[in-house]
């Protein structure tokens, strides 16, 4: 959408102007913008540069050389070998768990949210107003506040320290339902549904064969937003999960930092290698699906 607007170039409008203010603006705004953007880009990239440089160093060099450039020899293979063999390769287990929690959570959440959004958008039924109000109010409820109550409830049901303790809460996202409803309001015409009904199609068939194929954009958006949310989730898993075999990447990395203060073993190089590996899946998903999460973020902001 942004590209549709032909933005007048800076400086052009000031051509031929005689006021000092205008010529000053045209003269300085262009390099000013450039310098600002370059500095800000440096700020966003520099910490990751340090990470990339440091992951190639041996423990000794990490402590003794400048953090801004590579060391004398490349130690990256050794660092990754140590990471992958740490406690019989438990890192792979954490990786698998993270993919499971984020992947399954996001898929189920997408299906549930789209169905709910369709229901709220196209049907009238008793209780609909209440449901809608609950969805809106729950935007403002900080999720961290629900985590402890959820823990108490799950503890009573013996669900803590199971996969479900992390998965079930990730299935529910009021914002995603709202996103789906907004999209369906705007793109699925009532006449189409009416016509299908006249032709004798059942409600489930209408949803599955007519509505769902029209919703690939919001589905992808909801999937990616939920995936990122769950991949980053820390408070819920650290509350729910005790055994390290069920941990996520985030909990595993946190445990590396915990060991540092308590033992002689220094896991810094492993932690750095682990950080690099944890960035990759998230970055790949986000780069491939950029179009979707950007539109989702924008829609949420404009309407919310």
């Amino acid at each position: 959408m942004a590209q549709q607007f032909m933005k007048p170039r800076y400086g052009k409008a000031a051509d031929g102007s005689s006021t000092a203010a205008r010529s000053r603006a045209s003269k300085w705004s262009r390099p000013g913008v450039l310098i600002g953007l370059v500095l800000l880009t440096f700020y966003s990239i520099a910490p990751l540069w340090w990470l990339v440089v440091s992951v190639t160093k041996s423990r000794v060099e990490l402590y003794n050389s400048s953090g801004l450039w590579f060391g004398s020899q490349n130690h990256i293979v050794e660092n990754f070998r140590q990471l992958f063999t740490y406690e019989d390769g438990i890192f792979f287990r954490w990786m698998g768990n993270s993919i499971l929690y984020a992947g399954v959570g996001a898929i189920v959440c997408t299906v549930i949210s789209i169905a709910a959004g369709y229901s709220l958008s196209k049907f009238e039924f008793p209780g609909k107003k209440i449901e809608m109000a609950l969805v809106m109010v729950s935007f403002l409820v900080p999720t961290a506040l629900l985590t402890l109550p959820l823990y108490l409830l799950f503890a009573g049901m013996h669900l803590t320290n199971t996969v479900w303790a992390v998965l079930i809460p990730s299935f529910v996202n009021a914002f995603d339902v709202y996103l789906a409803k907004e999209y369906i309001d705007g793109t699925v015409p009532d006449e189409l549904l009416e016509a299908a009904r006249v032709d004798g199609a059942g409600e489930l068939r209408i949803f599955g064969q007519i509505v769902v194929p029209m919703l690939s954009t919001p589905a992808a958006t909801i999937f990616i937003l939920t995936f990122v949310l769950q991949w980053n989730n820390f408070y819920l898993p650290i509350t729910m999960l005790r055994g390290s075999d069920k941990w996520t990447l985030a909990l595993g990395l946190y445990s590396f930092m915990q060991t540092k203060q308590s033992s002689l073993f220094d896991p810094t190089t492993i932690a750095l290698a682990g950080s690099v590996v944890s960035i990759i899946p998230l970055a790949v998903v986000m780069i491939l699906m950029q179009r979707f999460w950007r539109s989702g973020v924008a829609l949420g902001a404009v309407k919310g």
Binding site: M1, P8, R9, Y10, T19, A21, S29, G36, L37, T41, Y43, S44, P47, L48, Y63, G67, L68, I112, S113, A115, A116, S119, L120, K122, F123, E124, P126, E131, S138, L140, V141, P142, T143, A144, L145, L146, L148, P149, L152, I168, F171, V172, R197, G200, G202, F234, Y235, L253, Y254, M257, Q258, Q261, T268, S275, S278, I279, Q290, R294, V297, A301
Partner: protein, 321 residues
């Protein structure tokens, strides 16, 4: 059966008896109920993982663990009314954590918003050909998992391996990023790095939706680009600024992940009750598993955050009008 029926309007036009309207109403109702089934999975799970835990926490917060008799068979919950809440209101550690985080939120949120707004305005003013590349690069921190960004910054600040301390030493400053004085600056910088890109994206989205002819007329009137940014662009995206500000404020009041990781680097400065959420976590898992009190603290924190959000929303909304 309902599907094979003719259009409802045709049915309605043939009033054969008093109940002529009923098939139509029933038909609509039947369809509505079928439609409601589509939202059933969401609503059921919503009740289970939002409403039920909240009610459960309210219920649990009304009890106190008491040892009966010799206490040999462990503590029993006993109904205690609002005792836990009275205790919460007198809990100095909890409230000082709350004050600490509230103060930090008041300083850091506007800073992040201002930074994001500047980024969005610069991006909006950049050459069209360069926009995409800059937008991508500025969003890179958003693609890094929270835990990794915190870990990387903790290492960057670290006196052993971090380059920042050496850099400041070259300039002649001896800096301890985990000292009580600098800790908040260090944390604010981390949160800025993490959050600025996302907020920038939302603001930039709103900026591109402004009709550019507005700038054209301002330029003809002799307004500088800086003036246009301040007097046209920012007021036009006021709603977005308010919303992103409110959301990041609510997020910051629940500060947990970052201080917990800072704690592993500097346990003496970042205490176990450093933020309200950390206090709740601490009561649940470390301090003897006092669930009832932790539940009461959760309810208090929810009320405080709701109150602050309402006040901030009310004030900022009124000011703009």
């Amino acid at each position: 059966m309902t599907n094979t029926m003719t259009k409802p309007s045709e049915v309605a036009q043939e009033p054969q008896n008093n109940r002529a309207m009923n098939p139509v109403a029933a038909w609509h109702r039947h369809r509505g109920l079928k439609g409601a089934l589509f939202s059933l999975p969401f609503f059921a799970l919503f009740l289970f993982s939002f409403i039920l835990p909240f009610l459960y926490a309210l219920w649990e917060s009304l009890f106190v663990l008491k040892y009966s008799g010799l206490g040999l068979d462990g503590p029993h919950p006993r109904f205690a009314g609002l005792t836990q809440y009275a205790r919460a209101f007198r809990d100095a550690a909890f409230w000082s954590g709350m004050g600490r985080v509230a103060l930090f939120t008041c300083v850091a949120t506007p800073l992040i918003m201002a930074f994001a707004a500047v980024e969005a305005l610069l991006l909006d003013a950049a050459k069209r050909s360069a926009k995409k590349a800059y937008r991508f690069l500025l969003l890179v921190p958003y693609m890094v998992p929270t835990i990794v960004s915190t870990l990387v910054w903790v290492y960057l600040y670290s006196p052993d391996i971090g380059p920042l301390k050496r850099f400041f030493a070259l300039l002649g400053f001896s800096v301890d990023f985990f000292s009580p004085q600098l800790l908040w600056v260090s944390m604010a910088n981390l949160l800025l790095w993490v959050n600025v890109g996302f907020n920038m994206l939302i603001m930039y989205g709103s900026l591109t939706a402004i009709d550019p002819s507005l700038y054209e007329s301002a330029r003809i009137d002799g307004a500088s680009e800086l003036r246009i940014a301040w007097s046209i662009k920012l007021p036009m995206i006021r709603g977005t600024l308010l919303l992103t500000g409110l959301l990041s404020m609510i997020g910051m009041l629940q500060l947990f992940d970052q201080p917990l990781l800072f704690r592993s680097a500097s346990p003496q400065t970042v205490t176990a009750n450093f933020t309200p959420i950390m206090t709740i976590y601490n009561y649940t898992f470390s301090a003897g598993g006092d669930y009832n009190y932790a539940a009461a603290l959760s309810v208090v924190l929810a009320l405080v955050i709701a109150a602050i959000s309402a006040v901030v929303y009310g004030v900022t909304n009124r000011k703009g009008k």
